[in-house]
């Protein structure tokens, strides 16, 4: 294991220190917690948005904290959901009386920990709503199982609900648009190599020199199948087929997010983007806007995910609104 760390047990603490010292104008840390908030939180009259999860997915979620997106990110241990007391601190710190929306990625651990925090917050008289993002089409959608995972599509949920909250919408309204975004967003990923949890010290899985894992999870959870490496365009076709058959995008507008998982050169992400654009054109799906980069990573995993968000006018407005965040800035129209 080759990592730029001091000690596996200190990685999360030191990362948080690094984030808040580097971004001290815009972000602050709640004392004695692993919660990072906007430096101006709570914003009077505004619904507070809280997300978070295990660390190792940077820039998620601290990179999405700021005007127009999240009010707070709760940072867990590597790949491990944060605990309810931490989430509770975040909720309390961002609530200005208008209530708080929790944006949770659909993992048993995250759902349980955030729900417990919500219960505690409600006992303290704070209005809390939650939405659960489950955009990963690699996993079967079923109410009898854990259901779909939440992956990079979560960023669009942050962005769009954050935009509405910034405008002063009610908690109910903000939850509605978050749910609407979730209904319209689908993603799928592929891994070319494993990641290594620092405290584990060993790769989470291993792939042969010629293998890739289709449908990988962002914590290195298994995907759908292992198949031989293929050309970039063919890999994209495999992922896009699953995504496009899941909801009907034809003749609608879509936002695209090409997300590197950690070790994939940006050069390759643009090859992926190119083929996605071609497929969308063939299907008469209009690309509204494309983002290419690292948005929801898995430590040093090589691979990428594709996210497609089906848009209507309201969702477009949400994407377009200004956002002052590190990892998803949208500038003001002048």
């Amino acid at each position: 294991m080759k990592k730029v760390i001091n000690h596996p047990d200190h990685v999360v603490e030191e990362m948080i220190q690094g984030i808040v010292t580097a971004q001290n104008e815009s972000l602050k840390r709640l004392p004695k917690t692993n919660v990072i908030t906007r430096s101006d939180a709570p914003i009077q009259g505004k619904v507070g948005l809280v997300s978070g999860g295990g660390s190792g997915h940077e820039p998620a979620h601290a990179g999405y904290v700021g005007k127009g997106m999240l009010d707070a990110a709760v940072v867990g241990e590597v790949f491990t959901s944060p605990t309810p007391d931490q989430v509770l601190e975040a909720i309390k710190a961002v609530d200005s009386g208008a209530g708080v929306l929790l944006i949770i990625k659909n993992y048993t651990g995250d759902v349980m920990n955030f729900e417990m925090a919500a219960e505690m917050a409600e006992m303290e008289g704070i209005q809390v709503e939650k939405v659960v993002v489950n955009d990963d089409v690699a996993v079967e959608d079923s109410t009898f199982t854990t259901g779909r995972r939440g992956i990079a599509g979560t960023i669009f949920v942050h962005k769009i609900s954050g935009a509405l909250a910034e405008q002063g919408a009610s908690l109910k309204e903000v939850k509605r648009i978050a749910d609407k975004t979730i209904e319209n967003v689908r993603s799928m990923g592929v891994a070319l190599s494993s990641c290594t949890v620092p405290a584990a010290g060993k790769p989470s899985f291993s792939l042969a020199e010629n293998e890739m894992e289709i449908g990988i999870g962002i914590h290195g959870e298994a995907g759908i199948e292992r198949i031989p490496m293929q050309e970039a365009d063919k890999i994209v076709n495999i992922l896009m087929e699953k995504i496009l058959q899941d909801i009907d995008y034809v003749k609608s507008d879509a936002a695209v997010l090409i997300n590197g998982l950690g070790a994939t050169p940006e050069m390759e992400l643009y090859l992926v983007s190119r083929q996605v654009q071609q497929l969308l054109q063939d299907k008469e799906i209009e690309t509204y806007k494309t983002w290419v980069g690292e948005y929801m990573t898995s430590l040093e995993m090589a691979g990428f995910s594709i996210t497609l968000l089906k848009l209507d006018e309201e969702l477009k407005q949400g994407l377009k609104a200004a956002s002052q965040t590190l990892a998803f800035p949208v500038s003001y129209d002048k």
């Binding site: 295990g54 867990g76 241990e77 590597v78 790949f79 491990t80 959901s81 944060p82 605990t83 309810p84 007391d85 993992y107 048993t108 651990g109 349980m112 920990n113 417990m116 690699a138 996993v139 079967e140 009898f144 199982t145 854990t146 995972r149 949890v197 405290a199 584990a200 060993k202 989470s204 899985f205 999870g217 914590h219 290195g220 959870e221 298994a222 995907g223």
Partner: protein, 207 residues
């Protein structure tokens, strides 16, 4: 007659911690196979904190020991196992509050813990989770006389082996579908260590 004293409850927690540290890598490896590779790390971090907390505190009752464990696990573990084990010990604390812990209190405590896990995790028996172990243990304690409680270790072992053959439908392993068959559930394994520690500390004989 109390079957578990304050001292024994404390010793139980310490023994669990020992076993979690010893088996940290094994639990993590099991979780790497069908989950995300942090279960051993989570358990080791959680029970280390439990022992730290307990050594800092004076206890009058078994219930309070369980409560400390519950609150610490809840605040230090995270993930799926944190709230589940936190809930389990919290239910045990509530059930035993203001009481000496005799065999029937203990039966009730484990039954309550099992039910707590079930309602928190929404898993049923047979979904290849740690709930399988707690459910079986609760049944076993109700069915057997106290003298035979050493059998708890065999019950856990058998349940773990059962999980190996199951298709996971809850937790991260569920994403693997059929490919989860053949692998032991990491949470069931850590639950095994919890009950093995209990048998050790209470000197229940087992083979």
């Amino acid at each position: 007659m109390s079957i578990i004293t304050v001292e024994q409850a404390i010793a139980w927690m310490k023994k669990i911690n020992e076993k979690m540290q010893e088996n940290k890598d094994q639990l993590t490896a099991l979780d790497q196979a069908i989950g995300d590779g942090d279960h051993g790390i989570n358990m080791a971090r959680g029970f280390e904190a439990v022992v730290e907390k307990i050594e800092d505190t004076d206890y009058d009752s078994v219930s309070d020991v369980f409560k400390s464990a519950a609150m610490t696990l809840m605040a230090k573990v995270g993930g799926a196992s944190g709230p589940l084990y936190g809930t389990a010990f919290l239910k045990m604390s509530v059930t035993t509050q203001g009481k000496e812990v005799g065999s029937s209190q203990f039966q009730q405590a484990i039954r309550a813990a099992s039910a707590g896990i079930q309602s928190r995790g929404q898993a049923d028996f047979g979904e290849k989770t740690l709930y399988d172990v707690w459910y079986q243990v609760a049944d076993f304690l109700e069915e057997e006389v106290v003298d035979q409680w050493g059998g708890i270790v065999e019950v856990c072992q058998a349940t773990i082996e059962d999980t190996r053959e199951m298709i996971a439908t809850k937790g991260r392993a569920s994403y693997l579908k059929e490919r989860s068959i053949g692998k032991v559930d990491p949470g069931s394994m850590s639950s095994f260590y919890i009950f093995e520690s209990l048998a050790d500390v209470l000197d229940w004989s087992y083979s």
